[in-house]
Amino acid sequence: MSLLRVERLSKSFGALRAVDGVSFEVHPGELYGLLGPNGAGKTTTLSIIAGLLRPDAGEVVVDGRPFSADPQRAKRIMGVVPQELAIYEELSARENLEFWGRLAGLTARDARTRADELLAALSLADRAREPVKTYSGGMKRRVNLGCALLHRPRLLLLDEPTVGIDPQARLNILEFVRGLQREGTAILYTTHYLEEAETLCQRIGILDHGRLLAEGTLAELQHRLSGDRLFVLEGDLSGAAPETWPGFGEHFQMIQRTDRQLVVAARDRRDPADCLRELLNLPVRVENVTLKRPSLNDVFLQLTGRELRE
C-alpha cells in the first residue's frame, strides 16, 4: 500500500491553474521526485499535501486515510521542509531543533536527545549553540531540514531543499537525504535540478504548467524516447527543412533543433549503425554525429518542447 496517494489534485489561483489533475503515489521507503521548472506547480502540490492549501478538487490520501478526514493524524505522519528557510535566526540550531521537536509532540528530554542525533548527522554539532544568523547558507538549509525530522516522520516532504547553496553543501544534503531513504523514510522531493532527480530519486514525476506529464523510473522515462539512445547531428542546419526530407519522419522523431544542432530519436529499435548510415545520407551537410543516452532534459524537451533549464 502506498504511504501517500494523490488523486486528480487541482488548484487554481484566479485564472491561473497551478495544479491540474495531478495524480501519483509514494510508497514506504521510496524517494519520489517531482521535477519541473519554476512555476510548474511543485510547491503548490506539496503545500496541498502538507495541508497548507485547500485543493479545489482531488484528494490526498496519507497511509490509507484521506487527509481531510483526519488532518492531525496525517500531519503526525509527515515532516515538511519548506523551500524558504523557516527557522528562528536569533536562536541556535539546537534551540530551533528542540523547539520544533517539542511542537511535534516530543518530551523535553526526547527533543534534546533527538536534537543531539540530528546535529551530529547534519554536521552541525560543533556550532550547535551559536545563533543561526551566523551560519552559512548551507548550514541554515541543514537546520531547516533537521527541524522537520525530530519526530521521525514516515513521510518527508522536501521542497527544493538545495536551492541557493554551494555544490559542496548541496552534496551533503543529498547524501543526508539518501541516508533517510535508506532508513525507510518515504520522501517526496521537489526539484528543478535534473541531476538531483536523476541521481537521487527512484521514481520521477515530470510536472509542467500544473500537469504531470510523465512519471516512472529514470529508465522508464528514457525509454519513452524510443529506446535509450539519441542521435545528435551537428552542422549548418539553418536552411534545413527536416519535415521535407524523404523517409525522415517515418524513422526518426525530432527532439530538438537549432541552427547548429539536431537531436533525433529512432522510432524503432533498429541497429544504431543502420540509423547512423541513414542520417548521414540526409540531404544536409552534417559535420558530426554522436550517439548518447537520453537525459531527463531530453525527456522534458520531448514532452514540453522546451528545455528544463530555460
Binding site: 503545500s47 495541508g51 497548507l52 503526525r76 515538511v80 519548506p82 528557510l85 511542537l103 511535534a104
Partner: protein
C-alpha cells in the same frame, strides 16, 4: 498549556537575543510621558500640581455685590491655589492678553447681577481666550461652563428667592437680612443637590482617612486632575496603538514562514496566537505602568485604585491583542494592516471618549455607540474609579474584555486558517 509554555519560552529567548524592538516599544510611552511632563508638568519643580496657577483677568463692569463675591471667592481657598485672577478694566486686560501675560479675560457686563436676579431675558458672561495658549484657556472655559450651569440651575429652581436676593445686593440694602437669606437658600439648594449633575472638574480635595495630618499645603493631591482625567483616555488610546506594534512579531513570523511551518504540524493555530497575545499583553501592561505611573508622578496624580486599574488594563490588553491579531489575520499586507488597525484604534479611541470628555461627543454616539466600545470601558472605568463617585462594575468589565478578546483571537485564528488555505502570503 505545555504547548503555550514552549511557544512563550521560544519568544522569550528571541526577545533576550534581540531586545531592541521591545526596548523601542517601551521607550515610546516613556518618551511621550516625558514629553508631556516637560511641557506641562510642574509637580517636580515645586510649582504646584499639574497646571500651575492660571492667570486671568476679570473685568467687572457690573460692579455689584456679586462681582465682589466673585473677587473674594476666586482669590481664596482652593481656588487661590490654582487660579490667579487679576481685576482690571477692559483696556488694560486686553493689553495684557495681547502681551501674552494672561490666559483669558472674563468680562462681567454692566447690570449682569440685576438682570440675572430679575429674570429679564438671558444674561451673558464673556470669556476672551488667549489664542497663544491651549490648556489654561480651556480649563477656564470648562470652569466657566460649570459656573454657568450652576447659575442656570439656581435661576430655574429658585426663582422665588430672587426678589429677596435682589434686595440684598442692591446698594443701600439691609445686610442683616443676608444671613437669613443664605440659610434659607442653602437649605433649598441642599434638597436640590441630588438632582444636579456633579461638575466635571471640582476643587474638592479627596483625602484618605488618616492623611489629614500630613496633608500640608505642599502635598499634591488629586484635586485638579484634568491631566489624570485626560491621561486615562490618552493611555487607553495609546495602548491600542501599542498593541498594533506588539503584534508585528506575528506578522514577522508569517513573513518568515515559521507560522506556516507551525501550521504543517498537528497543532492548532489558536495556541500560537495566544502566545503572541500574551506577549502583547505583557508589553501593554509595562506601557500602562510607564504611562500611568510616570504620568502620576509628573502631574501629581495620586492613583487611589492601582490594583483595580492594573486588572482593567490587563483585560484591555487582552482585547488589544485580539484586536491587533485580527487585523494581522484579515489584511495580508502587514503595512496595510498596521495602517488600518491604527486608524481603527484612533476611531475607537475618539468615539470611546479617550481624547476628550465623553460628554463632548454627539448625543447619538455618546448614548448608543460609546458604551459598546472597549476603549470607553477602560477610560471611563479609570475616570470613575479615580475621579468620580459612580460605582464601577469592574468584574463585569473584565468579563466583557475577556469575552471580546477570546472572540477576536478565535476570529484571527479562523482568518489565518483561511489565508493559509487560499495561499495568501504576506
Amino acid at each position: 498549556m505545555k504547548l503555550l509554555r514552549t511557544l512563550l519560552a521560544k519568544d522569550l529567548r528571541r526577545v533576550r537575543r534581540n531586545p531592541l524592538p521591545w526596548l523601542i516599544h517601551l521607550a515610546m510611552p516613556l518618551a511621550i510621558t516625558a514629553l508631556l511632563g516637560l511641557a506641562f508638568g510642574r509637580a517636580g519643580r515645586g510649582e504646584g500640581p499639574g497646571l500651575g496657577r492660571i492667570r486671568f483677568a476679570v473685568v467687572d463692569e457690573d460692579e455689584s455685590a456679586l462681582g465682589g463675591l466673585l473677587r473674594g471667592g476666586l482669590s481664596q481657598g482652593e481656588g487661590g491655589r490654582y487660579l490667579e485672577p487679576v481685576f482690571l478694566d477692559q483696556a488694560a486686560a486686553l493689553a495684557q492678553l495681547e502681551a501674552d501675560q494672561l490666559s483669558a479675560v472674563l468680562i462681567i457686563p454692566p447690570h449682569f447681577t440685576a438682570d440675572y436676579l430679575s429674570g429679564r431675558g438671558p444674561v451673558r458672561l464673556e470669556l476672551i481666550k488667549n489664542p497663544a495658549r491651549s490648556i489654561h484657556p480651556a480649563v477656564l472655559e470648562e470652569l466657566l461652563g460649570v459656573v454657568v450651569t450652576g447659575l442656570n440651575a439656581i435661576a430655574r429652581n429658585l426663582p422665588s428667592e430672587f426678589p429677596a436676593w435682589r434686595a440684598v445686593v442692591m446698594p443701600g440694602a439691609d445686610y442683616r437680612q443676608v444671613a437669613e437669606l443664605i440659610v434659607r437658600t442653602g437649605e433649598k439648594l441642599d434638597t436640590l443637590r441630588r438632582y444636579l449633575d456633579p461638575p466635571l472638574i471640582t476643587y474638592t480635595k479627596q483625602a484618605k482617612p488618616g492623611e489629614d495630618a500630613r496633608a500640608g499645603a505642599s502635598s499634591p493631591g488629586s484635586a485638579l486632575n484634568l491631566f489624570g482625567y485626560l491621561l486615562a483616555g490618552l493611555a487607553t488610546m495609546f495602548l491600542l496603538f501599542q498593541a498594533n506594534q506588539g503584534i508585528n512579531d506575528l506578522n514577522d513570523e508569517f513573513a518568515r514562514r515559521t507560522f506556516e511551518r507551525y501550521h504543517t504540524l498537528h497543532q492548532r493555530l489558536l495556541p500560537f496566537l495566544v502566545a503572541k497575545g500574551v506577549f502583547v499583553v505583557v508589553m501593554l501592561l509595562l506601557c500602562a505602568a510607564i504611562m500611568l505611573g510616570g504620568g502620576g508622578l509628573l502631574f501629581g496624580i495620586h492613583w487611589r485604585h492601582p490594583g483595580l486599574i492594573a486588572l482593567l488594563v490587563l483585560g484591555f490588553a487582552a482585547f488589544g491583542a485580539g484586536f491587533a491579531a485580527l487585523f494581522a489575520a484579515l489584511v495580508p499586507d502587514a503595512r496595510r494592516a498596521d495602517a488600518l488597525s491604527n486608524l481603527t484604534a484612533m476611531a475607537l479611541g475618539l468615539a470611546g471618549g479617550c481624547a476628550f470628555p465623553p460628554q463632548s461627543l454627539p448625543a447619538f454616539l455618546r448614548e448608543n455607540i460609546t458604551p459598546l466600545l472597549p476603549t470607553a470601558w477602560l477610560a471611563q472605568s479609570i475616570r470613575d474609579l479615580e475621579f468620580g463617585d459612580a460605582p464601577v462594575d469592574w468584574p463585569g468589565i473584565l468579563l466583557r474584555f475577556g469575552l471580546v478578546a477570546a472572540g477576536l483571537l478565535g476570529l484571527a485564528a479562523r482568518g489565518f486558517r483561511r489565508r493559509f488555505a487560499r495561499g495568501l502570503r504576506s
